[in-house]
Amino acid sequence: MHGPPPLPSLKPKDYKSDVKPVWCAGCGHFAVLSAITKALAQLALPREQVAVVSGIGCSSRLPAYTHVYGFHGIHGRALPLASGLKAARPELTVLVAGGDGDGFSIGGNHFIHACRRNLDLTYIVMDNQVYGMTKGQASPTTPPDWTGSRLTPHGTGLPGFNPAAIALAAGAGFIARGFSGDPGGLTELLIQGIEYPGFAFIHVLSPCITYHPEQRAWKQTVHEQSGATTADPLLAAQHLQQGDQLATGVLFRAPPPAGSATPARRQPITTDQLAARFVVPDQN
């Protein structure tokens, strides 16, 4: 079902649409968009064989800014929509993009189930620890003492989620962290995630300069992880549980799920044959 061979010279900009982003100038999501188009160009993927699916949020506006197939779905439901697409059309390259609110708050259930279901999707969460689109409320990854929202005037008082640790516990096989301030590194991670034949979770630190201007300091604090990528879930569990959540790189990479584990399909049938099963047998 593959389309015509890719044009030899598809550039990153060929994966960009002419729709102007609604993002604030300086928003981290711009760099993520660029990294995605770069990764697609480097992988030389035919545009019509790629789909980007998202939910709702500033970050989730991304699909319309790409020039591949896109679906800007509803808040928190990007993963199931993408899962249905991928299950029905396994030959497509399906990316899923969204924010920390979309993915970890309202979409939390689909997140853990997508990790377990392990379809070959690349899930890119642009984490800015805030609901940008609705003008700055706390998200599940917001630090406990952030008092920037009138909804939680004393801060949430709750430790932020550790999405990488949750992904691991839920069964994800590929877990990476990138930073929109390091678009080159991010592009590299995206390429690895897209190439990983299973569910790849890419946690991207992507500052909201409007509601979290202090995230500009990530430029200084974000750092590469110290060790090499591990394939050992016990080791990863320990690392992720204690990590400062500012370490970038591929944090965990399990051996890809055992090939087409799908059991031998039963003998094919037609709908006419199905219908015939209901016919009352002749008694004579």
Binding site: E48, A51, Y69, F71, G84, R89, N109, V280, Q283
Partner: protein
């Protein structure tokens, strides 16, 4: 074995006592479809359902028609249960007012079924004399009783069971040839192993031999060469219709009474090259099918009230993004968790109006088990043709009952998606004559677009302008209201100044009521709607034209369909409403009764 048409002899208490002025008092009008209603009850493990299935299959093989409904107690498993069987010479898919024959394998918790098992003075009650006497709740029907020691008879056979003895006895009374009964039993018991089959057959024979010569119900006669017929459940019928319509992807979350539909679909989809995904919840399942359909694969989910509630936001996305999907909603008693194992037609409001914003979509309802094939297939093809959401309503009664039916018919509509061909200036939501825009799917080079639930312009780019909003709202409405649905929007029967209007599974009882009224000198027509939204208004008006008495019949508390017809200004002022909630099925007699009171 050949079945000869036998002459009908009426038992005296049936032909006597006919009163023209009150047709409701007659259980079955003998000038019409002749039928017999039989129930078997028993506590957990007595094998009531097995008996029912063997009976149904035997009757099918005799060349007759039948309906088999079931009911069970609140226990998760092994609780008491009842089967309700109606057999007839003509297709029949609704229960009658009363039962002619009741076989009790025992009486434990029988009071739980008392209101589901109306009996009359002429009901023959068969029971196991080893399991106690007829309880007070069946006091009305004690003249014609047959007490037989089923348990003791079964004990004569190693591995013998009382239900099989009872089955033999019933079979004899109903005029089912022993051989037919035994072949059917053989086929259905086969999976349980040879020992069970052998013991079962011996018990059936013993029961057959033990049947007393009287009282016995009137025999039905089967045609010499029976036409081709099917034995199918409503849930299976929906599933088959879906697959015939082209569905190749299903995502769903289990829920009573839709689970059986999913369980039928899963292995069959796989053999058709499709797939069923069990989702983590209904929010996921509806979004999964939107994704699959965006990928070009016709997709469906099945659920019931609580699950449908959770899907409404997803349905809105499908409407706004014009992604075709089908939802099969098997209704149960509501509101909230309600009565999960019993039937009601009370999810109509939600199906029609439960989306935020102006979100036109299709709502259909299957009129019978047989019609579940047609309606579901039609719904899939309409959804694909019109790039919209189609909700198909069935219910626990339709879904979980089985019937022997004439082979279902197929919709004429081809029903494939209008695909994108222009690859130069592709605009996903472009305006067209029929308001349906060509749809590209991933893989189509040059037609990349982003589907969106945000309001958009013709290209699909988000837009908040009044002009784009109005244009796309108009488009999404017009493609549905401008479509020619032909004659399939309803089944219209009979003629007369009395007009019974109904929808979904109430249609069987309504049609029978109309026939009874007509035969008793009150010509009555029935209009049973399959397409509930949008209703083709001119056709509807034509169907009810000149009626002097109109009554809208449905199985819910609020009169939801009546309100809907009024909302659309389709009813004259005097039209009445007969809305009665579940869990008891609507019976023809209560409809006749209501008409006669109102007339």
């Amino acid at each position: 074995m050949k079945i000869e048409k036998q002459p009908v002899t009426l038992p005296p208490e049936r032909s006597a006592g006919r009163r023209r002025e009150s047709p409701v008092d007659r259980k079955t009008d003998l000038t019409a479809t002749r039928s017999l209603s039989v129930s078997i009850i028993g506590s957990g493990g007595t094998g009531v359902v097995t008996c029912g299935k063997i009976l149904l299959e035997s009757i099918a093989r005799m060349g007759l028609y039948a309906l088999l409904a079931r009911s069970s107690g609140p226990q998760i498993r092994g609780g008491e249960s009842a089967i309700m069987l109606r057999l007839a010479e003509q297709p029949v898919e609704n229960l009658d007012d009363r039962f002619d024959l009741l076989l009790a394998l025992d009486w434990l918790h029988v009071d739980r079924f008392a209101d589901e098992l109306p009996v009359g003075a002429d009901t023959i009650i068969l029971h196991d004399s080893d399991r106690g006497d007829i309880p007070p709740c069946f006091d009305g029907a004690t003249q014609r009783r047959i007490a037989t020691p089923l348990t003791r008879l079964a004990e004569a056979t190693e591995n013998g069971r009382a239900n099989m003895v009872g089955l033999g006895l019933l079979g004899q009374l109903l005029g089912i040839p022993l051989e037919t009964l035994c072949t059917a039993a053989c086929d259905l018991l086969k999976p349980k192993g040879e020992t069970i089959v052998g013991a079962g057959l011996r018990c059936i024979e013993q029961g057959y031999a033990a049947a007393p010569p009287a009282p016995r119900p009137l025999p039905l006669s089967a045609p010499v060469v029976p036409p081709k017929r099917w034995n199918i459940s409503g849930n299976e019928a929906c599933g088959l219709g879906a697959l015939q319509g082209g569905i190749r992807f299903v995502a769903a979350y289990p829920i009573t009474p839709a689970s059986e539909l999913l369980e039928w679909l899963a292995p069959n989809l796989e053999r058709l090259g499709g797939e069923l995904v069990q989702a983590e919840d209904e929010l996921a399942s509806v979004n999964m099918i939107i994704g699959a359909s965006f990928g070009g694969i016709p997709a469906l989910t099945a659920t019931s009230g609580p699950g449908l509630s959770l899907m409404m936001e997803g349905l809105g996305l499908a409407v706004a993004s014009e992604t075709p999907i089908v939802v099969s909603n098997v209704m149960r008693g509501g509101p909230s968790t309600g009565i999960p194992t019993k039937s009601e037609q009370s999810d109509l409001n939600l199906a029609l109006y439960g989306l935020h914003g102006d979100a036109p979509h299709l709502v259909l309802a299957a009129l019978s088990i047989r019609d579940s094939v047609f309606t579901t297939e039609w719904a899939v093809k309409l959804a694909e043709t019109l790039q919209t959401v189609a909700i198909v309503l069935t219910d626990q009664f339709l879904g979980q009952a089985r019937a022997v039916i004439d082979p279902p018919r197929a919709p004429g509509l081809k029903g494939s998606r209008k695909r994108a061909v222009d690859r130069t200036h592709y605009q996903r939501y472009t305006l067209t004559d029929d308001a349906v825009s060509p749809m590209a799917i991933p893989g189509d080079a040059g037609c990349m677009f982003t589907a969106d639930g945000l309001e958009h312009d013709q290209r699909g780019t988000p837009s908040a302008t009044a002009a784009d909003h109005q244009q796309q709202l108009d488009k999404r409405r017009d493609k549905l209201t401008g479509f020619d649905y032909g004659d399939d929007w309803a089944e219209i029967g009979g003629a007369g100044a009395i007009c019974l209007i109904t929808w979904g599974s109430a249609s069987g009882a309504v049609r029978e009521a109309a026939e009874r009224l007509t035969r008793s000198g009150h010509p009555t027509r029935s209009v049973a709607l399959r397409l509930l939204s949008p209703i083709p208004e001119a056709a509807f008006r034509a169907a009810i034209a000149d009626a002097s008495h109109l009554l809208v019949v449905e199985q819910n508390h609020g009169g939801q369909f009546y309100d809907h017809l009024n909302a659309r200004k389709l009813l004259p002022p005097g039209a009445g409403s007969l809305a009665r909630p579940g869990p008891l099925p609507l019976r023809p007699g209560e409809i006749v009764n209501r008409v006669m009171q109102g007339a």
